[in-house]
């Protein structure tokens, strides 16, 4: 498991190497090919698109390491965004409204965690069911909300628009979470356990790890991160709508897999998730700046995903053959 120095071979074999390499290539192409890439507006929009997506992707990465995932995360963002703006519109103070948003995130995460961890429902089915329900609730609240289009208090808007030395608070927050998670996953005993549980649930149970509790906790964590992403987004754009977070579950899973995660669990890093997200955001930026019809973007992203998954499978197969496992 341990990296023996910084030999080139080791660096290349790290699972997030591929995504970091193609992200850098994409960055260079954008930086040299487009005049407006370094424009302040473009950099601002990149920051505010990367930060919330990365927060969600971090949560998804933790789940994927455990060998599960969450398809309800986009719906959770919509519900949190709409609920927080409803609370603010009805005169609730900013800290309480934000707390309420996090409460919803915790609640959805807890239910997901119970269904997957304790009841034992396949995460695909459980979180799709919850996605339907949360989405339905979000749209119901939305239909109550759309008559009043509230102006958020300035102390709330600052969460989304405030900057320190040209960097958005939300981007800094994302970096802090990245550092915490990286240390947690690499050097913390509990963090290492995620890999053991994801790698082999039965073996880790025999070692006395409580995988049920871990699954519930991590689902709550992704609920919290989704809530944070929703709050930053609505604070930045000044309103909540039902499209908030729509489809983000797929983008997050794709980013994580590009960044070295595997649906079978036991693999992945927070840094990989971040670079997966940066790659996806730069990709959108690429299509915008070079004025390629954005409809082609899905084709390219999907094809890259299939190639990455196939290449990962091929390499694993080759490794197992060398080890004589097959």
């Amino acid at each position: 498991m341990k990296m023996s120095g910084l030999k080139l071979k080791n660096v290349i074999q790290r699972s997030e190497f591929a995504v970091i390499a193609i992200t850098i290539i994409l960055f260079v192409v954008l930086a040299t090919g487009s005049d407006i890439f370094f424009n302040v507006n473009n950099l601002n929009s990149l920051q505010t698109s990367i930060a919330p997506s990365a927060l969600v992707a971090f949560g998804m990465m933790l789940l994927l390491i455990l060998g599960v995932f969450d398809l309800s995360v986009g719906a959770t963002m919509a519900l949190v965004g709409i609920s927080v703006s409803t609370l603010l519109a009805s005169g609730v103070s900013v800290p309480l409204a934000v707390l309420g948003g996090f409460g919803i995130g915790v609640l959805v995460g807890f239910v997901n965690g119970i269904l997957v961890g304790v009841v034992g429902i396949n995460p695909l089915i459980a979180t799709i069911g919850i996605k339907f329900m949360v989405q339905g609730l979000a749209y119901m609240r939305m239909s109550n909300l759309y008559q009043v289009h509230p102006d958020f208090p300035a102390s709330f808007t600052i969460l989304g628009t405030g900057k320190l030395f040209g960097i958005y608070y939300q981007f800094l927050f994302m970096i802090v979470i990245l550092i915490i998670l990286s240390i947690f996953l690499k050097n913390n005993g509990i963090g290492r356990r995620l890999y053991y549980i994801g790698g082999n649930r039965n073996a880790s149970r025999l070692m006395g790890f409580n995988s049920k509790r871990m699954i519930i906790i991590i689902y709550i964590v992704i609920g919290l991160l989704a809530a944070a992403a929703a709050i930053f987004s609505i604070a930045r754009y000044g309103n909540a709508n039902r499209y908030l977070g729509s489809g983000i579950e797929m983008t997050a899973i794709i980013s994580c897999v590009l960044g070295g995660a595997s649906l079978s669990g036991g693999k992945g890093t927070a840094m990989g998730a971040l670079f997966g997200v940066i790659f996806m955001s730069l990709m959108t930026n690429f299509f915008n700046l070079f004025e390629v019809s954005s409809t082609w973007q899905d084709v390219v992203v999907g094809a890259i995903l299939i190639i990455v998954v196939a290449a990962d499978g091929y390499l694993t197969l080759k490794k197992n053959k060398e080890l004589g496992k097959i």
Partner: protein
């Protein structure tokens, strides 16, 4: 969990009623009776016919989807392929000026190619079918959007439009084909050795290989089957609305999963039948239909659908565990 799924074909079949195999019939009959007595609108020929017509279109996609679930694999690209095939057939018909049947055939062939790619990647590289087909879902959604952009809401006329409207006697052919396909597949899956092996492959494809079953080839064929049936369904759906809709097939994979799981299929493979998946679709259609007649807020309908899915699976798991103890 996979140890729970190997029950349907084990020696005690027949001695014990498998809850998950029959629950969908009870649910469907119960809801049918409830709606018949509780509403004035449900039990009329027109209403039941229109429900059947709706199902008969989605049904094509669920044939391949269920067969793939029996293999223990999943095809998340089914919705995108469904939408893509309608748009592609329309493009070939309107823009390339091909006769409808040629456009239809080419579209289905191309969908078969899409399924083959899914199958090859999953089987040859031993990777998760969910991941690969999410990739394919994204790719096909992209192609669909490109084609729809090209078509700029042109209306499909002539053969394309009348394809879905053809009738045998007074009944749309899609409904007749639905009944025939259900009967044929039910007989084949229960009686024919060639089809029974699907369940063995789904329970354990490696063991099946040892017994001389060509697991890999069967699994690959089912990926093709899933894309082909989704493609056929997509063309029929496009023929019905007579244009390429951007919403065609969106979220269809979730309807398929819900219906198939209600019908007793398992994501771990080895379980499921075409008939029960079709009843699952019918059940979902009745739920929507019933809620409309009770004028339930459409958003609560979503909440109810999610709740049904989770309760169905939880009950199934609880019962399976009990029967093991």
């Amino acid at each position: 969990m996979s140890e729970y799924t190997g029950r349907t074909l084990s020696s005690d079949v027949g001695r014990r009623i498998n809850f998950s195999s029959y629950s969908i019939y009870f649910l469907a009959i119960g809801l049918f009776l409830f709606l018949t007595f509780a509403t004035n609108t449900f039990f009329s020929f027109e209403n039941l016919y229109s429900i059947s017509l709706d199902i008969s279109i989605q049904f094509y996609a669920i044939v391949g989807f269920t067969l793939l679930l029996i293999m223990g694999e999943i095809d998340m690209s089914v919705g995108s392929v469904f939408g893509f095939s309608g748009a592609l057939a329309g493009y070939l018909f309107v823009k390339s000026g091909l006769p409808f049947w040629i456009a239809f055939l080419l579209t289905v062939l191309l969908c078969a190619g899409v399924g083959l790619i899914n199958g090859l990647v999953v089987v040859k590289f031993h990777v998760s079918s969910m991941m690969v087909t999410i990739g394919m879902m994204t790719v096909m959604a992209g192609f669909k959007a490109v084609l729809i952009g090209q078509l700029s809401s042109r209306v499909f006329t002539g053969d394309f439009r009348s394809f879905m409207r053809m009738k045998l006697g007074d009944i749309h052919w899609t409904i007749i084909a639905l009944v025939i396909l259900i009967v044929v597949f039910e007989i084949l899956l229960l009686r024919s050795y060639k089809f029974k092996v699907f369940y063995f492959v789904g329970q354990n494809s490696e063991t099946a290989k040892i017994y001389g079953i060509k697991s890999d080839r069967i699994r690959m064929m089912m990926f093709v089957m899933s894309a082909v049936t989704a493609g056929i369904g997509g063309v029929i759906a496009a023929s019905r609305v007579a244009h390429a809709a951007a919403t065609a097939g969106v979220g269809l994979e979730f309807t398929m999963i819900t219906a198939a799981v209600l019908g007793g299929a398992s994501l771990f493979g080895g379980k499921g039948s075409i008939l029960r998946s079709a009843v699952g679709l019918f059940f979902l259609a009745m739920v929507t239909n019933g809620m409309v007649s009770f004028s339930v807020d459409p958003y609560i309908q979503q909440v109810v659908l999610g709740l049904i899915l989770i309760i169905a699976v939880t009950v199934d798991i609880v019962f399976t565990r009990k029967s093991r103890a």
